[in-house]
Amino acid sequence: MNEILNISGVVMDFPTPKGPFTALNNINLKIAEGEFVSLIGHSGCGKSTVLNIVAGLHQATNGGVILNGKEVSEPGPERAVVFQNHSLLPWLTAYQNVELAVKQVFKNTKSKVEMQAWIKHNLNLVHMDHAMHKKPDELSGGMKQRVGIARALAMQPEILLMDEPFGALDALTRAHMQDTLMEIQNELRNTVIMITHDVDEAVLLSDRIVMMTNGPAATIGEILEINLARPRDRIALAEDTTYTKLRAAVLSFLYEKQRKIEPIAEHAKKKSEMKASNSAAA
């Protein structure tokens, strides 16, 4: 396996009036070419910060990221980002949104005709060729995110960074998008880092799941290899014992080892105990 990305010793402090707040502490991760890695963890644990550091949108306080032997110091199209809320330019059509990226990335390498074909090819990949001349306002949430993915793919990135790409979508649309993404991955074998909240999504799509501990000073808790054969089928997997075990492992990490919310029964018990002691004091 060919290592493409190396995150080493990354620490992230955010300045606050009360002194620096350590969001991330000592993140180390190596990713191989063509690997699909999911980052999972409770909200606020700094998953997005990790992604933003890899994207170059944030600068790590300590440590760094090396992509293909070069240190990451600023954002760039070789690390294309799919943002959570699509972030398409609302005044451009789907086609023009992809065009903006293609014109910028391939301005010296592709001719006008090649660019047109490339834009259409990428919109085709995400099944958006029928609505490519519509503006984002006229598209549904899922369709907007498809265009967002097409724009990122069209940059022909060395690594694709996805920040909860399907988080804002309803369950059915999300399943549909996951299928499209797997289909594209079968063809292109991109290296992907995806942030998600969704355990099923992580197991279904990933080669490895990186589970993060709760912040502050969040770090990588466990890494789970997903050795399920590809292409994967969500219906067949539902009965698969390996799948169920992997899913249970992630769930156990999130809800037992890194429990954020105390179970309701315990919470109620504590409350009644407090009440009792209060009334006793009175």
Binding site: L57, V81, F83, L89, P90, W91
Partner: protein, 312 residues
């Protein structure tokens, strides 16, 4: 279908009722106010003045034609008598009619507004993009924004007189005075709205631009400008409204040609028709102000991607 007709009727009938009630109240109040120039004009008197003003305008044009005709004939005669004579044409020197004044005011306000927009939009964009510039300019803007045009006018007049001292001016000084005063007053809402629009661009869109490594100029052209177009137009509509109000005041005070001068001249004239002519001018000023705003709204609809702000 029937419901539709009903709502259209409602949209037509209710404003009409409002108008009728207003006219009734106006004529009732007018007949009870006695000024030194006679009774305060009612609707009938104003209507009469509208047609009178138009008749005067046409009469003046006939006179102008005759004036030019006389000049041409005289010149022809002199050239016939003395072939070396180079004929001169003098412009008509009669007084400006109400319609002329309207056109002068419209030209002045457009020029003043355009000049302000040319300064305000680039300035607003730079202020919106740079925190340092914003901190530097903010106090200046905040102090100049509430200044009345009447305070600027003497300064502008003196500066224009000092700097624009050519024997053969391309545009009259009075035009420059009014125009620059308009510019100074309607600059600020555009600067403020543009800079707020630019500063409040969705961070994700800025990140898209960073990931694509768009050069600074392209970033402004492709991301910043389109994203802040709705706010820029909000500022422009505010500014144009201010520009029109400022212009009338400036023309009145400085005796620069235009609708403001018309109002002032009529006031000084003090005939029994003066008040009704002034009131006619008031309606015209209001109506033109309304049309200017509507025109701006149409341009906004045409240019802005955000149709929801354009419909307001």
């Amino acid at each position: 279908m029937i419901r539709n007709i009903f709502t259209t009727l409602q949209a037509l009938v209710i404003p009409l009722i409002g108008m009728i009630v207003f006219i009734m109240l106006w004529s009732m109040a007018a007949s009870n106010i006695n000024t030194s120039l006679g009774k305060f004009p009612g609707p009938q008197a104003v209507l009469t003045q509208f047609s009178a003003l138009y008749t005067e305008h046409k009469a003046e044009r006939v006179k102008e034609k005759a004036f030019i005709q006389r000049q041409v004939e005289r010149n022809a005669k002199r050239v016939a008598a003395d072939p070396d004579y180079v004929p001169k044409m003098r412009a008509y020197t009669g007084k400006e009619t109400f319609l002329d004044q309207i056109i002068t005011s419209l030209v002045t306000v457009s020029c003043g507004f355009l000049l302000a927009a040319l300064i305000a939009v680039p300035l607003g964009i730079s202020i919106g993009l740079s925190k340092t510039l914003n901190t530097a300019f903010n106090p200046i803007i905040q102090i100049f924004k509430p200044v009345s045009p009447l305070a600027w006018l003497p300064l502008v007049t003196m500066v224009v007189s000092a700097l624009y001292a050519t024997p053969d001016p391309v545009v009259p000084k009075s035009f420059l005075n009014s125009m620059i005063t308009v510019t100074l007053c309607c600059l600020w809402p555009m600067v403020i709205n543009t800079s707020v629009g630019v500063a409040s661009i969705n961070i994700d869109l800025v990140n898209v631009s960073r990931v694509l490594r768009l050069p600074a100029l392209k970033h402004v052209q492709k991301i910043v400008l389109p994203a802040s177009i709705p706010m820029i137009f909000t500022g422009m509509r505010l500014s144009l409204g201010i520009a029109w109000m400022v212009l009338i005041a400036a023309e009145m005070l400085a005796q620069n040609p235009g609708l403001g001068k018309f109002v002032w001249d009529e006031f000084q004239n003090g005939s029994s028709d003066s008040l009704s002519r002034i009131l006619a001018a008031v309606f015209v000023i209001g109506f033109i102000g309304f049309l200017l705003d509507q025109g701006m709204r149409q341009i906004q609809r045409l240019l802005s991607w955000d149709k929801s702000t354009a419909s307001r």
